[in-house]
């Protein structure tokens, strides 16, 4: 039981996909403009991650290792299609804002990375928990970046103005703002990790 909990919790901070493993940075930089986008993207990726980890772990014994990557991609792409269609049906505005980055979840390094390094080698329950933990870690990291960028870049949180007198620094919602924020947060993570190791 303790082992299972560890599989779940490692993705949140110790092996956070964004801040520690530095995977999936492309969507993280692109959609962290606002908290709403970040949550949408994070939850979509979490759903795909959990489902694909479940299926890939289930079929791990019948997939020949030479063609495992195409098989993983087919599984992941099926779930991404489901998410894409669901999002377009129930939240068209969010789907429009996220745009190409929803279909691009198919080639998201985190999902393929977890399939390759965890789900294809472990049993079903740990794989699901691993996917859930990694997905939540991704969502949290994305939201963290997005809160900072939205707050300084447009003076809002979830679309609500925090201080009307504030003149937003446009750079924070532009690509350089994403790189600056992410770099600073990764530096902070390393600092915390090095302090806690002492």
């Amino acid at each position: 039981m303790k082992g299972l909990l560890k599989e779940f919790s490692k993705g949140i901070f110790r092996e956070n996909p964004i801040f520690v493993i530095a995977l999936g940075l492309c969507p993280a930089l692109a959609v962290s403009v606002s908290l709403e986008n970040a949550l949408g993207m994070g939850l979509a990726a979490t759903f795909v991650l959990v489902c694909s980890n479940f299926i890939i772990s289930g079929i791990r014994d019948i997939v020949p290792s030479q063609i495992r990557i195409p098989c993983f991609i087919v599984v992941i792409a099926s779930f991404v299609t489901i998410v894409e269609l669901l999002m377009a049906a129930f939240s068209p505005q969010l789907a429009k804002q996220l745009g190409i980055f929803v279909p691009l979840i198919v080639v998201n390094c985190i999902i393929l990375g977890r399939a390759e390094s965890f789900a294809s080698k472990n049993r079903i329950l740990p794989s699901i928990l691993d996917g859930l933990g990694m997905g939540l870690g991704f969502t949290l990291a994305l939201s963290f970046v997005a809160v900072i960028r939205e707050l300084f870049g447009s003076g809002e949180i979830l679309g609500f103005a925090v201080n009307k007198a504030y003149l937003p620094a446009t750079i924070m919602i532009l690509p350089p703002g994403a790189l600056l924020t992410l770099g600073m947060l990764i530096g902070l993570t390393n600092l915390i990790k090095s302090r806690s190791r002492k």
Partner: protein
């Protein structure tokens, strides 16, 4: 025992120069320009300069304390960064924005990379670029000089307002073809009677400061001259409507070229070590400035050009590494 027998490694002949002495010399060579800027744009310019320098020094001190390092604000590098940043701002900028820029210069561009001597980019220029993208509306809000050498053009009671475009912006937007349509002459450009950033307008004093630094051998001629020469040549050739018809003097005097070439591009930390590398660096700055001015979205490109070439410095240093004594020049290159 007295220290009469000093054992040290070579070189044994020392000029008595130190980092902080060089930085303070550059700082003082820039001060007359600041006085002229305050004279031209009014007391607001003074507050901006003071705010930038104070924020830079305070940020440096706090971060060095947090990093458990010796607080070396006395070496003047933070003060120089603050001064240079202020010289790159329009006088109408809100004071708090200047403070944010100054904080960014020291905290992110300098200290996050490891402090003095370790930064890749020129802190003052990177902060200017940051402010330009963050609050572009305020960063291009240039005002008419309040005071010229001929006398006051406007009474001091109205220190702000009278916004107007810089000569380069007028050229870019096609509102003026040559200098005579701008209502100024070359003497105005030399003395600083034009809208622009605080420290870039007074060319005469900038050149005087640059000559002082050249005389004291603190900067060499390689970067500034190759920068200005290549920009002038390119502008002369392709800058105008017809080949060879552009006003080279106008394009060199109206903008940040003189400030950038002599005081920003020559920063020891962010420029190449060898003479050959410096020549390529200067040429690259001139080329990029010309490209941004001609085809880019901004009327002025000096700061972005220098920043881009800053990024190329490690490559230039590698490419231009000198021949090791005793090695052959032909055949396989030996990198140091």
């Amino acid at each position: 025992m007295d220290n009469k027998l000093l054992l040290s490694i070579s070189p044994h002949v020392h000029k008595g120069e130190s980092i902080s002495r060089i930085i303070w010399l550059v700082f003082f060579s820039l001060l007359p320009v600041g006085v002229a800027g305050i004279f031209i744009f009014g007391p607001r310019a003074l507050w901006l300069i003071v705010a930038c320098i104070v924020t830079a020094i305070a940020t440096e001190a706090i971060i060095l304390l947090l990093r458990h390092k010796k607080v070396t604000i006395i070496d003047g590098s933070a003060a120089l960064t603050g001064l240079l940043l202020a010289y790159n701002l329009p006088s109408s900028l809100p004071i708090w924005m200047a403070c944010v820029g100054s904080f960014f210069a020291i905290a992110v561009v300098k200290q996050a990379f490891g402090g003095l001597g370790r930064n890749i980019f020129n802190p003052a220029l990177a902060a200017r670029a940051f402010l330009l993208i963050a609050w572009s509306k305020y960063m291009v809000n240039f005002t008419q000089p309040i005071c010229t050498w001929a006398g006051f053009t406007r009474p001091f009671a109205y220190p702000d307002s009278v916004t107007c475009a810089t000569p380069l912006a007028l050229l870019k937007e096609g509102k003026a073809e040559g200098i005579y349509q701008m209502g100024i002459n070359y003497l105005d450009l030399f003395l600083g009677n034009r809208p622009g950033c605080i420290g870039e307008v007074c060319i005469v004093l900038l050149l005087a400061g640059a000559l002082f630094l050249l005389w004291r051998k603190i900067i060499s001629w390689h970067i500034p001259l190759s920068f200005i020469f290549s920009l002038g040549l390119l502008t002369w050739f392709w800058g105008g409507s017809q080949i060879g018809k552009a006003d080279v003097l106008l394009s060199l005097l109206s903008g940040g070229v003189v400030l950038g070439a002599f005081f920003m591009a020559t920063d020891y930390v962010t420029s190449p070590l060898t003479r050959k590398g410096q020549l390529i660096f200067g040429f690259g700055c001139g080329l990029l400035t010309f490209i941004i001015r001609k085809w880019g979205g901004y009327p002025e490109g000096v700061s972005f050009a220098i920043l881009m070439m800053n990024g190329a410095v490690p490559l230039l240093d590698r490419f231009c590494s000198p021949r090791i004594y005793g090695h052959l020049t032909r055949g396989r290159r030996h990198s140091v």
